[in-house]
Subunit: 336 residues, 2 copies
DNA sequence: TTGAAAGCGCTAACAG
DNA sequence: CTGTTAGCGCTTTCAA
């Protein structure tokens, strides 16, 4: 395999100059620079990550932590991160964080401490106090997408505002009997709970409390199940705010199967901007997950390359996209 | 940061013994071993990936190449790979291979040649001749999931047999007017084409050629569109074999929207074993993508750890799962 | 702007 | 079974 010495010899300079040229650090004359580039490219030289990492302490690789790999939202954020990182010549090392405790500690105690990465990006992971401490002890810049923890630099959507937007949309259409699909325990601090709490607050503001909160596990199947249950009630809701598009799709199918028309008998709004929502005409609060990944990668790169401190907290945009799944309640439905 | 010297000092042995103990290579007395393990764990020592990689040439990291990150099938295979690799203490470095030529060469010419990984796993990627050559020139073990190229060690589903199973199922139910959703160009060599060719062959064997092949891009939306078109025809099919569950879902929705009952008016069979297929009662040919990822990772680890040659070609299982979306054609439908 | 040389933190002969 | 030691292939002072 061709090494830095081969390049130095071919370019008739020292290895130091080759290193300076290729890394862009330190002064190099235009002439030397040109010869080095020419030699490197004609020899097909690529810097060894191990050697460079050992000598410099920089690895040009970012660790990404995700609690789920196979849900659309996570896969899409990952795609965004990957795109931006690869464009910058950085590698992406993926760590799956399950709910299995030994598996998690392995990640924090060993995997992330191998000096293989320059920074850590977490995506919607709920970290325990000890885990946050471990993460900070590693001494790498950490950027958390979708975390509310003030101890972490983070990129977050204002979930309360997002929930308000969705809820207001339904209220403004005239709905009063609105149910939320997600979690029912608003004392939790994670994203699902923030959405539920935002919904409950907005409903209370409209004089409609207690708010109806149904538990569902964010899958289409469970969104269907939960909706089917809701629709059986005598005072069934005229509208549903689902905390994810996948659940919203389930709600849509449940309504159809019960012979209810969407949006005439039931309005549905989801969250995410899932590719299926456009296809199904589902009103949703898009949170642009692809862009979230890109921005997070971007911010991490800026931190690494320019030595900037990661911004303590960045607000991510969201947008209510109104499509055919929401409308005013049918006349008979709007009467109490 | 604590280094190998600290551990050696604490355990009162040489760094060589620490290295031998922690890597499991070379003889170490039980007593020394115990002291080293104790010292390492109490000091919280973790081997530096760069230093270890530079000295040994092994990185304990696998590169994974994927053309798509945000489709369910790929995300699920990735999940399987990740699970198995992390359990073995290996890291996973993810490379997204787009269709953009400069981006692709960057991966083959630079990213994969940084000596950051010990092996390469590709998932359903179509490699050009030059790309295969570049990959082989790197000198790393390569294992290709879902590739038909004989130059690569591979783990593959027998796509012809899979297509036959799906097609036979429909034929056995009595269907004659069957359409395929996927690609129409059976001269291609990729997986979609293999499925289409398998379908066409089985139809021909039943005396039903030419087979009807409709193009769709493997998304639900396009499956819907293609199906809607097929259903408009005077001699509309009584059954559809979709090359992916996502397209099958689209077909299902298209049938419903046209007022056709599934399976009475239209039978549908998909491929993959998508989580939605169980929920929707969709008959599918499950190919166990999670297990595919695990097996591939497993095979790669075996190659790396035991120095085994990667098996030239391994057959992956698939299984026809019959659910409610397929049935014999309605009486009037079965007459020509 | 350049080169010489001293590491970076580990592994693997090799000798004992 | 263990320690000594020479690298692994770069980066980065430092002096010129």
């Amino acid at each position: 395999m061709v090494g830095i010495d081969d390049v130095a010899r071919a370019a008739q300079v020292s290895t130091a100059t080759v290193s300076r040229t290729l890394s862009g650090r330190g002064p190099v004359s235009a002439a030397a620079r040109e010869r080095v580039l020419e030699a490197a490219s004609s020899l097909g030289y690529v810097v060894s990550a191990s050697a460079s990492g050992l000598a410099s302490g920089r690895t040009r690789s970012i660790g990404v932590l995700m609690p789920l790999l196979d849900r659309w939202f996570f896969a899409t954020v990952l795609h965004g991160i990957s795109t931006r990182l690869q464009a910058a010549g950085y590698d992406l090392t993926l760590y799956h964080l399950s709910s299995d405790e030994p598996q998690r500690s392995e990640v924090f105690e060993t995997a992330l401490r191998r000096r293989r990465i320059d920074g850590v990006l977490t995506v919607s992971v709920e970290l325990g106090d000890d885990e946050i401490a471990q993460l900070q002890a590693i001494g790498l810049p950490v950027l958390a997408i979708g975390s509310a923890d003030p101890r972490l630099a983070r990129l977050t959507v204002d979930e309360a505002a997002l929930a308000t937007a969705a809820t207001r949309h339904l209220l403004d259409l005239g709905h009063r009997r609105i149910a939320h699909l997600g979690v029912s325990d608003t004392r939790r601090s994670d994203i699902p709970a923030q959405r539920a709490a935002g919904f409950a607050r907005e409903m209370a503001r409209a004089g409609l409390s207690p708010a109806r909160l149904a538990d569902a596990d964010f899958t289409t199947a469970d969104g269907y199940r939960a909706t089917a249950t809701l629709l059986k009630a005598a005072d069934r809701p005229t509208a549903i705010f689902a905390a994810s598009d996948e659940m919203a799709v389930g709600a849509l199918l449940a309504a159809r199967d019960r012979g209810l028309s969407v949006p005439d008998d039931l309005s549905i709004v989801g969250v995410d901007g899932h590719e299926l929502s456009a296809f199904l005409g589902l009103t949703t609060v898009d949170q642009f997950p692809l862009a979230q990944g890109q921005r997070a990668a971007e911010a991490m790169l800026a931190t690494l390359e320019n030595g900037e401190r990661p911004p303590a907290s960045v607000d991510l945009p969201f947008e209510l996209v109104v499509r055919g799944s929401t409308a005013p309640p049918a006349a008979e439905e709007s009467r109490p």
